[in-house]
Subunit: 200 residues, 2 copies
Amino acid sequence: MDYFSGILGRLIDELGRMPGIGPKAAQRLAFFLLRQDAAVVQQLANAMLEAKAKIRPCADCFFLAEGERCHICSDPRRDARLLCVVEDPKDVFSMERTREYRGLYHVLMGTLSPLDGIGPDDLKIAELLKRLQAGHVQEVIVATNQDVEGEATALYLNKLIKPLGIRVTRLASGLPAGGDLEYADDITISRALGGRRELE
Amino acid sequence: MDYFSGILGRLIDELGRMPGIGPKAAQRLAFFLLRQDAAVVQQLANAMLEAKAKIRPCADCFFLAEGERCHICSDPRRDARLLCVVEDPKDVFSMERTREYRGLYHVLMGTLSPLDGIGPDDLKIAELLKRLQAGHVQEVIVATNQDVEGEATALYLNKLIKPLGIRVTRLASGLPAGGDLEYADDITISRALGGRRELE
């Protein structure tokens, strides 16, 4: 895109580095920003810089925190006997959206993935075991994704944690709410079958 | 989205104000930015602020300029006898991409649109007439969009400019390159028919 040179070209390049923003979208965003008041652009730039400067991984669970510990770990009303293990900070938001879970979290910062060279030492597993050894946790809910890496990570964690005498559970796998049997894939159906429950 | 509060929530809100960025995309961009090095985020913020601070409408043609006049108006190799009138600065980039046009531009900053309350005084029409009165221009190519507002603006400009003894032309309307007759709409086909040319 050598039609865009100088300052505008640099802005388009920078915007185009973000995920899901192709060259056309980057141009559209750049033109949008040029049309805005300087104060609006300043606000956006400030929001980025402030978030980057102030948001850090929580010292306990590695979720996003504005201080030393995140708002969930700092909340005395949360049930410290339950620990939900997720892959990524954004998974915490997904769990929180249900408003059902009242325990704490532990973010692994990835999953075991030998093909990508990611082993146990690249994840926050040592930190997880240290938390468990403190002795408050009675159940670890493994909420890694239902894909090969997520499953492998869940099995690996189970092997490590069970010997500590702590219950390890996994989120149920099955048909999604509103899901149509006709459109479900084989693995989903066989998992739903394996996890079937008696009606009361 | 009250799951996102504080600094992260503000960042997501700010990102979500950009066009084509919905709440989910804004979240994805925010998490992306948090994962980047501080220097990367700083660069993006700087590119925005610099573009906003330094890019101004060209004093002559209202295209984007880093100084007083844009790089096209400042280029002595451009043909000052040809003036292409477009709606928006980004239309200049579209024209330049062809590498065929070597004249100058005039950006109207919109089109006549009575329903939106946009009349001639809201556009850069007075500035256009002033440029034409300087006497260099021999042909005005009206390249407003081929929609109702663009057509109305072209007709309006024609009425104003023709009495000055300057030729007024309009970009051809017809089937797009690679266009299939089967999928073309009626108006496009009838315009293509009206504008048919004899083969040499």
